[in-house]
Symmetry: C2
């Protein structure tokens, strides 16, 4: 029951939604709820029951007909699918305003992601501590990331340095980058890049606002 099936290609958006399902499930778990139906859980999510079920069905059958989904079991299954059933160490580059805010953010642990090390090229910042992380001088970046075998980086440096630093990161073994700088990174295409772009997000909001179409 519940073997992985690869006959269908998995929608990119379905993966992103898995994270949201996981968060909702953990919330239900904290509320001591043992079982949930696709109908109930999607009340808290921005989607419909059919999509929840379909998304899960790409990976197997995790529910019980007539009953619903076991919350704890589904949490474990989704963590296994996402790969967040183990702790991943992350590096942060650029301990400025945004970078230090992220260093103090507990929310990454929700997905078993832990900022393990942070770098900045401002010598006066080296040695300072934010949220248990001591800032290291940028000169040690390549060595440390390579040694610690870190694969994921948060990039919070000014836009003009982002491309160069991301190339350095790739050189020392980084495979995935969450980029906060407002530039497109051009990297080998086995490097996974996601872009958090608040300003352009606001841009679309203004459009929707102006055109008064109802949201979603």
């Amino acid at each position: 029951m519940g073997r992985k099936k690869n006959k269908d290609i998995i929608p990119h958006e379905a993966i992103r939604r898995l994270s949201l399902y996981l968060r909702a499930l953990k919330w239900l778990s904290r509320k001591k709820i043992k079982v949930v139906s696709s109908d109930e859980i999607t009340k808290y999510l921005n989607t419909i029951p059919a999509q929840f079920r379909k998304d899960l069905s790409y990976f197997g059958g995790f529910g019980k007909r007539g009953v619903g989904y076991n919350v704890e079991a589904l949490i474990r299954e989704i963590e296994k699918i996402l790969g967040t059933n183990m702790v991943w160490d992350i590096a942060l580059i650029g301990a400025g305003k945004l970078g230090t805010a992220l260093l103090g953010y507990a929310g990454f642990m929700e997905f078993n992601l832990k900022i393990a090390i942070a770098f900045d090229n401002d010598r006066s910042k080296a040695g300072r501590v934010f949220g248990n992380i001591r800032i290291e001088p940028i000169s040690r970046m390549k060595k440390e990331i390579r040694e610690k075998k870190i694969k994921i980086a948060l990039l919070t440096v000014p836009a003009q340095y982002a491309q160069k630093i991301s190339e350095d990161l790739v050189q020392c073994g980084i495979k995935a980058i969450l980029n906060f700088a407002p530039v497109n990174l051009h990297l080998a295409n086995d490097i996974h890049v996601a872009h958090v772009d608040m300003a352009s997000e606001l841009g679309s909001l203004v459009y929707r606002l102006k055109h008064k179409s109802s949201h979603k």
Copy 2:
């Protein structure tokens, strides 16, 4: 030349891409480039020429065949489409680690968006200044937002307060919210909500990393 046409429905993603086009065009403008073809500009973007042209074609014909697009003129056109051809005042609620980082962020002005006022319920924060903005006590929020006719808010309060505060915001006239708290807001559906969710973004990155599929 270039009349708006509404016969087609406009893909949601096309709007988001407009913001990216705008940013690229402004960069070209700073480099004193006067004219650009869809081929050239998409070298800097994560897309192909056909999509650039198609996206623009939803709103009109802004280029010149055999030549390309006038950079300055296209900037003005896109700003007009997005509605960022005028300054929009924004309110920020929750001047904590992330909120104060945003207060010091210059990147919103790229889209003519200006954080005009900020609120926090921690009395000890009221009066402190970040990036030219003085933090106001939360008790003045409704009055000030209503008086200043602010329509857009950045929500950076802890997750458990986000729903309640967003309802207050709607009450005093806010129409669009950029939500940073890891919860889904349930609001009337003429209220536009966008969600910046770094943790879940990282979740999908881990999946892609584990499954080694080439990015994009």
